[in-house]
């Protein structure tokens, strides 16, 4: 006993199936329904097209600050695919692809980035939380959702996302620690896109991988190629299956890259080299997935044209709908409580009077 290494019962492993060069590890390749594969591709592409469109809208002043998810689509999409409808998903703002899969319409995303609270409301029957802005804060209610799932005993699980930057926050730690102690059905997915605004992954934590942080909580960690949708699906399925059957939480590190700016308010040229971006471009999850489908004979040129046209129409329609959206300007008082307090009723009246005055003639001067 005097001086011995501690034996660590938890596993920390890496996983990759579909390499950037198109090679597939056929031992690990999941057998997916071709229709699903096509739908997954369509969703990934919708996300990419939406991203491009949102950037344009932002530059035209038709949208607020926008945070792209370019290059990170596979990570959330793979997770979303591996969940069942009644499982929970807790996103950050880089999980657009996964949420599109879950049924969130493009229109809602436009509302969100367009500055309307309505952008936070999932469609009926969709069990996802809206975007969380305070980094890693959502880990806590993600953990709480998993806790609720466990106490309900119906085999539901919760997948929760945060970024590599988010792992530095206390919330990340506390949530994972609770998940470990209560053996919660939580799949914690860290999108390690290598940057937290201008702070590189290497300056975010001295831990060599994010996945190994699992050891601090007595759980398994898996470092997955996050640009490889097959690996993301396999990893999540494994974690979900474990969670569903009482095996507890898993930490998944999805290694990916933020190909675009942090948000439209950001200029990445200030802090990162173009070379690094160039290095990652060929590893783009969309290119890789497309090549995979082509090789499998699931995608040909006419098929692609058709998908392109459908997506373009869908996005166009969403933009129209978004731009026609109107909101009662006094609405923001309405949802503070189930029943407005007397003081808020008075303030709402004040507000309505003010709004009417705004459209009425100016009061007479003091005599």
């Amino acid at each position: 006993m005097p001086r011995e290494p501690v034996k660590l019962p938890n596993r920390v492993e890496t996983l990759s199936i579909l390499a950037a060069d198109g090679r597939v590890d056929t031992d690990l390749e999941p057998a997916l329904d071709p229709a699903d594969l096509r739908r997954l591709y369509r969703t990934m592409l919708t996300c990419r097209r939406f991203d491009e469109r949102a950037l344009t809208l932002q530059r035209q002043g038709r949208l607020g600050t926008y945070g792209p998810s370019k290059g990170q689509e596979a990570a959330s999409l793979g997770v979303a695919y591996a969940l069942e409808k009644d499982d929970w998903l807790v996103p950050t703002f880089r999980e657009t692809a996964g949420l599109l899969w879950r049924g969130w319409p493009v229109h809602t995303w436009l509302l969100y980035w367009g500055g309307f609270e309505a952008g936070n409301v999932p469609p009926d029957g969709v069990r996802d939380l809206p975007v969380s802005v305070p980094i890693a804060s959502q880990c806590q209610y993600g953990m709480g959702l998993a806790w609720g799932c466990k106490l309900r005993g119906a085999g539901r699980v919760c997948a929760t996302f945060c970024g590599d930057g988010g792992t530095s926050e206390g919330d990340f730690h506390e949530a994972l620690n609770f998940a470990g102690v209560f053996n919660l059905p939580l799949v914690m997915v860290v999108q390690n896109n290598h940057w937290a605004i201008s702070v590189p992954r290497s300056r975010q934590t001295a831990s060599q991988t994010i996945a190994q942080k699992a050891i601090a909580y007595g759980m398994d960690g898996l470092q997955v190629d996050g640009n490889d949708i097959l690996a993301m699906i396999v990893a999540t399925r494994e974690a979900v299956e474990k969670a569903r059957t009482g095996g507890g939480p898993t930490l998944i590190e999805a290694v990916t890259y933020r190909l675009s700016m942090h948000t439209t308010a950001d200029d990445p040229k200030k802090y990162r080299k173009d070379d690094e971006v160039k290095e990652w471009e060929p590893r783009d999850p969309l290119l890789r997935f497309r090549a995979y489908l082509q090789k499998k004979g699931l995608l040909d040129e006419p098929g692609e044209r058709e998908i392109d046209a459908e997506i373009a129409a869908e996005i166009e329609q969403a933009v129209r709908q978004y731009e026609q959206y109107r909101q009662d300007p006094a609405e923001f008082v309405q949802y503070m409580y189930a029943e407005l307090t007397p003081e808020l009723q008075a303030q709402q009246a004040e507000l309505r009077a003010y709004l009417e005055r705004k459209h009425a003639p100016a009061p007479a001067p003091v005599s």
Partner: protein, 326 residues
């Protein structure tokens, strides 16, 4: 009817709510086997088991943040924070999420949490165990902030807080926990959150208090009557958000004078809001400036000196006399 301390009355309210609704959960540090450091959760683990009376690891933000997720799955979590002074470890979860989810999602997701914590000074505790942060929470829109003053209203208000569809910060005055017993009816009661009561009617000056300061105000009123022939009305606010402005103004219009009493520091405390409401509602009725008898704008001193810091009847009497003699 039973004669209960506030601790027992709160315990009763928890047990009642848990019996009635299987979705009510209690979670926090040491709430299980230990039955809470003040024994408010006595017997709950035994009666409801470890899935409903949950001992958590030591992390306030996870207790509250976890509670949010539990609420989304249909539970009604009652989170215990061990002391007011450690509620700040969870403050970001309250500010960022608990108070915002209903509004953020236009009612789709709500946080009907109750966040209970022992509140205020007067029990000779070490640092961070005697804070009075009600103004900090009252300023956060989306919350309700309740502070009972005795066993009976504590039990009724905790029940109301658990039934409330919105998040309630529930401050339990430590100095009252075991200070006295009160008749508490057998049948569950609720009181409306946001309504104060007249604890002692009077006509010369209105003393406005809540929590442990209610006793101080009542004692002052007695002294004012006995020794100075001043008939003070005493209001027990019970909530500081919503604040019962109507009750306050109705009283002050009658008396023309008011003294606000709270143990929290004065600067930007709830007392200031009360003064503002009086000015907005009853300026022309005021016969004297409204006085604030409060904690000082300092850290509450370590316990050897805390009674110097906390408002006492003498300070309230002096302030009331100033308004009467103005």
């Amino acid at each position: 009817m039973a004669q209960l301390t506030m601790v027992k009355a709160l315990n009763l309210a928890l047990a009642e709510a848990m019996r009635e609704n299987p979705n009510v959960l209690v979670l926090g540090q040491d709430v299980g086997l230990d039955e809470g450091v003040f024994r408010v959760t006595e017997g709950l683990l035994q009666e409801f088991g470890p899935d409903r009376c949950i001992d958590t690891p030591l992390a306030e933000a996870a207790i509250v943040g976890g509670g949010i997720g539990l609420a989304f799955t249909g539970f009604l979590p009652v989170c215990e924070l061990q002391f007011d002074g450690f509620s700040f470890q969870a403050f970001h979860q309250v500010e960022n999420h608990v108070r915002r989810f209903r509004n953020r999602t236009r009612g789709r997701y709500t946080c009907p949490l109750v966040i209970r914590m022992p509140y205020g000074g007067g029990i000779r505790a070490v640092e961070h165990h005697s804070e009075a942060p009600e103004a900090t929470y009252a300023h956060l829109a989306g919350l309700k902030v309740v502070i009972p003053s005795g066993p009976r209203n504590a039990r009724a208000l905790l029940r109301a807080a658990i039934l409330d569809p919105d998040p309630v910060i529930f401050f339990e005055p430590k100095a009252v926990y075991r200070a006295f017993r009160e008749e508490v009816p057998d049948a569950p009661e609720t009181m409306p959150i946001g309504k104060g009561v007249v604890a002692r009617p009077g006509k010369d000056v209105t003393l406005i208090a809540y929590g442990a300061m209610l006793r101080v105000a009542l004692d002052a009123a007695e002294e004012l009557a006995d020794e100075h022939d001043v008939d003070a009305e005493v209001l027990d606010l019970l909530s500081v958000s919503p604040l019962d402005g109507e009750l306050i103004n109705e009283s002050v219009r009658r008396t023309g004078r008011a003294v606000v009493v709270h143990e929290a520091p004065r600067h930007c405390g709830v007392g200031a809001e009360i003064v503002a409401r009086i000015v907005e509602g009853s300026l022309l009725y005021l016969e004297a400036p409204v006085k604030r008898v409060t904690g000082y704008d300092t850290i509450i001193p370590y316990f050897q000196n805390e009674l110097t810091y906390l408002p006492d009847p003498a300070r309230v009497v002096a302030a009331a006399l100033e308004t009467v003699r103005f």
